[in-house]
């Protein structure tokens, strides 16, 4: 009944998901391999942005505004003369951090809400109607509304996106909990006298993770896209912080004269999101074969 009965010789949940045979199967899946590679490249770029960026991403240079790509500024400069390459490299860092934070918070809250809803049947109806209410809004609109209310900042954007994506995650976790709770190994655990926490974590959630992990990769991609939308309309992280969305937003007035300002962050978003979606598709095919789309 207490958390104490969870400790003992438990290996972490991740330890039981990442087994070598599974990794082999994952990397044999082409979609996963390509997506994973693309995503790893983006992550490495974000991690080493300081080393890779040729200029300070915030350094104005009024003598070279809206500069075309050349040897000094490989991808050109924006209306303040800031180096686009450096801004995109640093922007990937902020965008990935937002995506990661949203994924982590969504995972925690979605799992918690979904698990309680699926396990404590008396609360199910109430919790799920609230989630349905949140899901009645398109997630982007909801995030814009929350972001606008809280004011533009990185953390408010994270909060807004977490609220927008948690209901979907909760629903997925609840669905798997409802299936797993009826299995005989859960009944066996009850017959042995296991407490609710042990049953919920060790037996039910440990076997509900596959669809959640798949969903989280898509939420990662969606958050990066949504951050761009929020920044574009000015409710994301404040400029001059470089994020993919901010760079595009600042370049929109100069699309005709200086298309490089918007094109490169656009390509960066596309690469990141495509990589994550491929990764998610591959994960789903391997972890959750029932959902596989025919003909792939």
């Amino acid at each position: 009944m207490t958390t104490a009965d969870l400790t003992d010789d438990d290996r972490g949940m991740l330890g039981r998901i990442v087994d070598p045979a599974l990794l082999r199967r994952l990397f044999r899946n082409r979609s996963f391999a390509i997506g994973f590679t693309m995503f790893v490249v983006v992550v490495l770029i974000a991690f080493f942005a300081d080393l890779l960026a040729p200029h300070d991403p915030l350094q104005n240079n009024y003598r070279y505004r809206l500069g075309e790509p050349n040897q000094v500024h490989l991808l050109g400069t924006d209306n303040f003369g800031r180096d686009i390459l450096s801004r995109v490299l640093h922007g990937s860092r902020v965008s990935l951090v937002i995506g990661l934070l949203v994924v982590m918070l969504t995972a925690v809250f979605g799992t918690l809400i979904g698990a309680v809803s699926g396990y404590v049947r008396q609360l199910d109806n109430v919790i799920m109607r609230v989630m349905d209410g949140l899901m009645a809004f398109p997630p982007i609109l909801l995030a814009i509304a929350i972001g606008a209310t809280l004011g533009p900042s990185l953390f408010n954007a994270v909060i807004a996106l977490t609220v927008a994506y948690t209901p979907r995650t909760a629903r997925i976790v609840r669905a798997s909990v409802l299936v797993v709770r009826e299995t005989e190994f859960v009944e066996a655990a009850r017959a042995l006298g296991a407490g609710h926490l042990r049953i919920l974590f060790r037996h039910i959630l440990a076997n509900s993770l596959a669809p959640l992990i798949v969903q989280l990769t898509f939420i990662f991609a969606l958050s990066i896209l949504a951050e761009a939308v929020l920044s574009y309309i000015g409710v994301g992280p404040r400029p001059p912080t470089p994020t993919f969305g901010n760079i595009i937003a600042e370049g929109r007035n100069y699309i005709a004269e200086a298309p490089w300002i918007t094109i490169w962050p656009g390509i960066a978003i596309m690469t990141t999101v495509l990589g994550l979606n491929l990764l998610g598709d591959g994960l789903r095919d391997v972890l959750d074969p029932r959902l596989r789309v025919e003909g792939r």
């Binding site: 190994f185 042995l192 037996h203 076997n207």
Partner: protein, 327 residues
Amino acid sequence: MTDPVLIEARGLTKHFPLRKGFILGRNLGTVRAVDGVDFDIRTGETLALVGESGCGKSTTGRLLLRLVEPTAGSIRYKGEDVAALAGEALRARRRDLQIIFQDPVGSLNPRMTVGEILAEPLVIHGIGDAAGRARRVRELLSLVGLAQHHARRYPHEFSGGQRQRVGIARALALQPAFLVCDEPVSALDVSIQAQIINLMQELQRELRLTYLFISHNLAVVRHIASRVAVMYLGRIVELAETDELFARPRHPYTQALLSAVPTPDPDRPRRRIQLQGDVPSPINPPAGCRFHTRCPLAEAQCRIVEPVLHAVAPGHAAACHLVRPIS
């Protein structure tokens, strides 16, 4: 015969409400899965519970273990009312009452190694230290005929019969006195069934276990059971010693059930009693005798008066108006 009673069920009842709708919902009726069942299980015996799918035999087994909460009735284990237990007392009592499941795939957590599965009951009840538990896991593995190195494997690496052995070992980890065996061999190949049945009989002798053996396989029941209870629509219709029941079934339902068992000799004349129609819904069981809608012998009173289980021979009870009680 003189063995003391281990489990005593009286008026055991489980009604599942059928609800539909938001928050409060309308009550659409009640499924009378188990409707007033009485029986005793004596120490060391195997009581078989047989009947068609949906007659309430699995629910009865789960009621005894409080995996399903009884709607009414009492369950006494060594005289103590298990139905009234709660919290820590119930948790402690669970050590004595365990279950073996039908599905060897679904009854083992796929994310735990066999070693972890077998150690879990000990962890839950705080028995022993890590070394002691490892020793007990090795003991359990050899008890059910598995090898020591199997402890490190996951359930999907085993065959159905091996998995069922793991399930049995888990049920025995806490040294229970009583096991509910819910169709323990129905999902296995015929050749493996015999092995598991023999293992269960050996364990019963060695550990002096008492079984409630739920099955629809009458051949297996005849082999393993000391006594047999026949269920129909949530009621016990006949209860007798195994040999007596198979030799002289008294209830028309039991007679029909036994006549459906194939005989190994094709030339032997068989009198098959073919029942008409389907089992009525347990939501609205028929008035009077529940079997009257399909009974070839039904009379007027069967449609009105519900028969009670009464002794028809020494140690043999049936619930049928047409079977005369012994005086």
